[in-house]
Symmetry: C2
Subunit: 300 residues, 2 copies
Amino acid sequence: MRADPAAELEARRRLVETALDAALPPESAWPATIHRAVRYSLFAGGKRVRPLLVLAAGEAVGGHTTALMPLACAVEMIHTYSLIHDDLPAMDNDDLRRGKPTSHKVFGEAMAILAGDALLTRAFHLLVDMPAQVPAEDARRRVEAAAILGEAAGTSGLIGGQVADLEAEGCPDLSANELERLHRAKTGALLLACVRGSGVLSGAEAEDLVRLERYGEAIGLAFQVVDDILDATQGAAQLGKTAGKDAAAGKATYVRLHGLDGARRIAASLRAQARDAIAPLGARAALLDALATLIVDRTA
Amino acid sequence: MRADPAAELEARRRLVETALDAALPPESAWPATIHRAVRYSLFAGGKRVRPLLVLAAGEAVGGHTTALMPLACAVEMIHTYSLIHDDLPAMDNDDLRRGKPTSHKVFGEAMAILAGDALLTRAFHLLVDMPAQVPAEDARRRVEAAAILGEAAGTSGLIGGQVADLEAEGCPDLSANELERLHRAKTGALLLACVRGSGVLSGAEAEDLVRLERYGEAIGLAFQVVDDILDATQGAAQLGKTAGKDAAAGKATYVRLHGLDGARRIAASLRAQARDAIAPLGARAALLDALATLIVDRTA
């Protein structure tokens, strides 16, 4: 039994910060500019939702924090690279991210592109860079987790979703199915990979893996629905990024398709689905459950 | 004994083309634009020097083409991603590559950035995406090769070299040491990773691995010296890309530092070093030797 899931999550968040710092070359390493740019974005105050999903999902099926940490760091690096590239003038052209100027505003476009490239490269490097004495079974699990991440980050996942998102601009009439497909790729795939990869890395039983996956699918979609709600209802100061952008870009959103109340009902229903999926895991899944609440109830 | 190394290389080049095609989703896969963009650049007529280095190095130490092919494809994908990103307006701003319009000229900047991201992601995905029945020893070698590639593609290699190259613009007074460091990172690291990764993947003995590495170091630097010579002496039609760019950008080059004859002497000396390094491997290294000639004697 956990007295305070929020405190437990905070303790793990601090472990993640330390591990991320250790996973990167120091700022002074040659050539210094790129390491400054990489660290600027990676330590810009992210909530570390994805690494926490990795740790919480692994713990729920008997995994160990140390073994899970490379994956936890890798997913955060991939998430951060995607933000840096999405913010570029050629893409979403955003000046503000987490309340700070975006990478290209500080370091210029060339360095922002390269900082994203560096984080993507380091993410995969981290997963395959293991000491020779790692037991064969652990090595194989890590490779499998890396493959799950590769699929999620690729053209049927993260990258495909961003392409579809760019192409959907000025298409407010996207159908509900097309919108869901887009977001399952752009946001859902990586979130799902966090819990599925973590389950695989922890040697989860097949039925527990299915539970994690059902949780991950629900939470992945909920994340985007809440994003749409926040974009429609919050100001830039609260979001730390440009608000009302989707409406301005004429994008289809859950709020536009289902109305604000409808979108809120969808988020609540996905939250319930996520809870149901992991209920059989019992108390071990307390952090996963707390994360679902955090994702749905967040205000930024 | 091989009668005709050129024909042998051509036969392997065709195998590489087939493997690259099979390693990518079809153009029609959702979302189609990104797959068109990825294939446009990957099949734009590259000479496949890096995949051929992988295959030739592996063969020289007893490796098998089938086992080497994922690495061969991965290095070409990483090379192609780096070209797409380097050509972007924010970087080298090139309109022409291999005689064809660059990716951003055809698909726009956003799609070019994403096509590069997709190739980088797919490269690592390919290396870790292996069937469960792969023997543990082979799986471990593949992981080690992936880690070698991760290092070479990262901020101490490919990406670091591009950063240093951008920062060297307008610095014609770069010292010979600084210039060599830049090119060892930007061009040499990936070429070295081709032969080192291939050696590891093939289970090469330690002393053969050292031979491949010495070859790779020499050939990596020779590649760049020849690039500088060609940039100074050839026209755009022959190069398939903008010529005389380095001089125009005020960049330090081997030609600027050592003169045209000096640069040619350096290239010839590196060619000899490469040949000496693999001489003990005997006839098995015939293709590696032919590749060294191809790299130093190329005219584009």
